[in-house]
Each structure stands twice: as structure tokens, then as C-alpha cells.
């Protein structure tokens, strides 16, 4: 059994106004990866290439050990895919869709499907066109979850959902992790969700991967330092810093490769460290994108 659920290597794809450049990504089995980036960064394109819906110009794509897109049929038996621009058939009922999935997939768990119907507050004989946006998203997730696929690939599964619906979906996603052979890759604009349930985080901006690593290690590398800078003191250029913003005697330093001796280094230069704060993923996201747009290299 392949221990990597998903592997992308040197993947490139050119469109007229956009280019995916040298995408490399690894999702170990039994983990959740969160994909974040601004709109238009290439998250959806990467996911489509991963699913074999779009053929890459260059590079290797392997999903559950199958080479994509050539072996996409074999892969898709074990992959559950849901994207926010996907629609079910309006004129048919949720129950029809459930039977449809059941007729195709042997792994369809009817009991779990019924449970999800109750949990999500849906009714099998409701027509899709009668569902609200949140209900439609939950219906699509139900169809994906009840098959118990080995790999879930989700493109913005919680976008535009109310907090309760979002919580319900996140719950089901973390429940998937009970089985250490199952994996999830999802993209989201909601940094809170990503921060909470991902084991690994991958950042994409403008068609390139900026960062891809273990979430805890990643969050640990970033700090915000609040300094008091007395008159006449110049803040030294220290390694691991990506930005300093100073107004008057107060300065805010953003570090993306924080070391324990950093505050001490500032104190030695004459500044006073008022606080060393952890940053939320959202704050890291913004700092990262601003940095990559300004072309500052680390």
C-alpha cells in the first residue's frame, strides 16, 4: 500500500492568463491537508488536475498510487470529490441521488447515509431545487461521505455556510480520521477551519506553492513581536524576520522563522520586548501573501 495518498511532482499547467508552475505536494495517508491561498491562486486548478479532470502539461500526479489522469477511473472508485461549483440534478430528489450512488458504489453505507440525513436535517424526498444553498452543500457532502471513500478531495466545502452547518461538516470530516487509512485534502478560504483540523498546510499564491508543511511546526515558526524602541536605537536586521512596521517608538516585527533567541537579540540592541505573540493562520496568510507579492525572498 502506498503511504502517500496524494503526490504531485513538478506539475505545470498553462492557460492563457494563468499558469500553475512547478507544483509539488505530498499528502501522507491518514492525514488532513488544508490548501489555502487567495482567489485565483490555483487551488481549484490543482484540485482538478489531482482528480484527473484536467490534464497537466508536465509533471507527475499520483492519487492512491494511481497515475493521473491515465488511471483516473481506478482512482475515482476510492476518491470522494465535492466542489463548490458542482451541482446535483435540480429536478430530481436527494433520495434519487442516494440510490444513484448506491447503484454505482459497493461501499455505500445506507445506515450512515440515514444518520447523516438526520444529522444534517435533510429529507430524502426533497427535490434538489427546493434546497437552500447550505442544504445543497450538505446534500453533496452526504453523497460523498456515505460512501466512506479512502480519500476525500473537497474544494471549498464550507464556503458560504452558516456557522452551524459549517460545524456539522467539520465534525464529519474529523470523524473520518478515526480510520488511519483515510485521508482528506480540502481547500478553503476559512483559515479557522484549516487551522483547526489540518495536519498539514499548503499555501498557494499566483500558481506557485509558497509553503507546504506540518501545521504545528508551521504555526510555530511565526511570531509577532511588539517592541518599544527608545530614541536613538536602530533595530538591527535579524534573520528570520519578514517585516517590521514602526510608528514612533513602537514597532511590530513579523518573524516567519522564529528562534528562541530572537527577543534576546532585540533586547541586546536596546529595544524592549513588550510581547511575543503567536499569530493566527489568517494573520500568517495575509503576511505571506503580502510578502510574496512584494517579491521579498526569505
Amino acid at each position: 500500500m502506498n503511504e502517500l495518498a496524494v503526490e504531485l511532482e513538478g506539475v505545470c499547467k498553462s492557460y492563457r492568463f494563468f499558469e500553475l508552475d512547478d507544483i509539488a505536494l505530498q499528502l501522507p495517508s491518514g492525514t488532513i491537508m488544508g490548501l489555502i491561498g487567495p482567489n485565483g491562486a490555483g487551488k481549484s486548478t490543482t484540485i482538478r488536475i489531482l482528480m484527473g479532470l484536467v490534464h497537466q502539461d508536465r509533471g507527475e500526479v499520483r492519487v492512491l498510487g494511481h497515475s493521473m489522469p491515465d488511471e483516473q477511473v481506478a482512482a475515482k472508485w476510492d476518491v470522494g470529490f465535492a466542489s463548490d461549483d458542482m451541482r446535483l440534478y435540480d429536478s430530481l430528489t436527494l433520495g434519487w441521488h442516494m440510490n444513484f450512488m448506491k447503484s454505482i458504489y459497493e461501499s455505500w453505507d445506507a445506515g450512515y447515509a440515514q444518520l447523516l440525513l438526520k444529522k444534517f436535517g435533510l429529507h430524502a424526498d426533497q427535490k434538489i431545487k427546493g434546497l437552500s444553498h447550505g442544504q445543497r452543500v450538505k446534500a453533496t457532502m452526504l453523497l460523498v461521505l456515505a460512501r466512506r471513500p479512502k480519500l476525500l478531495v473537497l474544494d471549498e466545502p464550507t464556503t458560504a455556510l452558516d456557522p452551524v452547518a459549517r460545524h456539522e461538516i467539520l465534525r464529519e470530516l474529523t470523524d473520518v480520521m478515526v480510520d488511519e487509512d483515510r485521508s482528506i485534502l480540502f481547500s478553503s478560504q476559512n483559515t479557522q477551519d484549516i487551522e483547526q483540523i489540518s495536519d498539514r498546510i499548503t499555501f498557494i499564491d499566483r500558481g506557485r506553492i509558497i509553503d507546504s508543511m506540518d501545521k504545528e511546526a508551521y504555526l510555530d515558526r511565526w511570531r509577532r513581536l511588539r517592541l518599544e524602541v527608545p530614541v536613538g536605537v536602530a533595530l538591527p536586521a535579524l534573520p528570520g524576520i519578514i517585516g517590521i512596521r514602526q510608528t514612533g517608538r513602537l514597532a511590530v516585527v513579523i518573524a516567519n522563522a522564529f528562534e528562541a533567541d530572537l527577543p534576546g537579540a532585540y533586547e541586546n540592541s536596546g529595544a524592549r520586548v513588550q510581547a511575543v505573540e503567536n499569530m493566527t493562520l489568517e494573520e500568517i496568510f495575509v503576511a505571506n501573501v503580502e510578502r510574496s507579492r512584494e517579491g521579498v525572498t526569505v
Partner: protein
Amino acid sequence: MGGSFIISQADKRPLYLQIMEQIRQRIAVGDWASGQSIPSIRQLAVDIGVSVITVKRAYLELERDGVIVTRQGKGSFVASDAHVGTRIREQELAQHLEQAVRSAALLGLSPKDLEKRIRASYDRVADAEKESV
């Protein structure tokens, strides 16, 4: 067992620290008894609804502090020595004192000044307790 863990994104501290604190609390008050087996990393992650890697980190740090023990193939347990609860409280106190020292430094207090402040707080707390009895 993990159902009553509350983690909040509004809390400025990282998730793994929040989890560690709540585990320590359970041990300190005795809900998780000394020597008792505790949920596996994966199981607790699923129960709380956080990533496996966050719980893994919490467990690793707790193990480093001697609060829990992980035995290969058997799972994780609360440290079986009778003083686990006390050790946790000691670690908490050490943290609080370090914070006090740092705050005092920002205010420019000398160690003697800090001592006076601690004494004053002690008296205040003692009075409050007398009144509430």
C-alpha cells in the same frame, strides 16, 4: 471522554496549549486518575474535532513534563506517580511567577518591589477567603 474539551479560536493561545491545559486540569482535580488510561491521540483528536497533529504535540509536551506516559503498543496513560497532581500545580506556579517577573521588569520594578507586591496580593487573597467563608 473528549467531549467536554472546549477549544476556542478566540483564545490567543495555540490549540495544543489549550488542550494541554485542559488535560492538566482533569488530572489535577482527579477526573483523570493517576495511572488511568487516556484516549489515543487519534481518538481524542476525533472527539475534540481537531487535527491529529495538534493532539500529538500536546501529548508529546505533556510526556516531556512527566504528566502522561505513552507505552509502545499499549497507549497513553496518566503518569502513575502519586505526585502528578502536585507536579502540575508546581509547573503552573512556575509559569505564573515567570510571567510576574517579566511584567515587573516592564514596569521597572526591582526584585524587592516585586516581593512587596506578592506579599500584598497574598494578604488580599487571604482576606477575601476569610470573608467568603
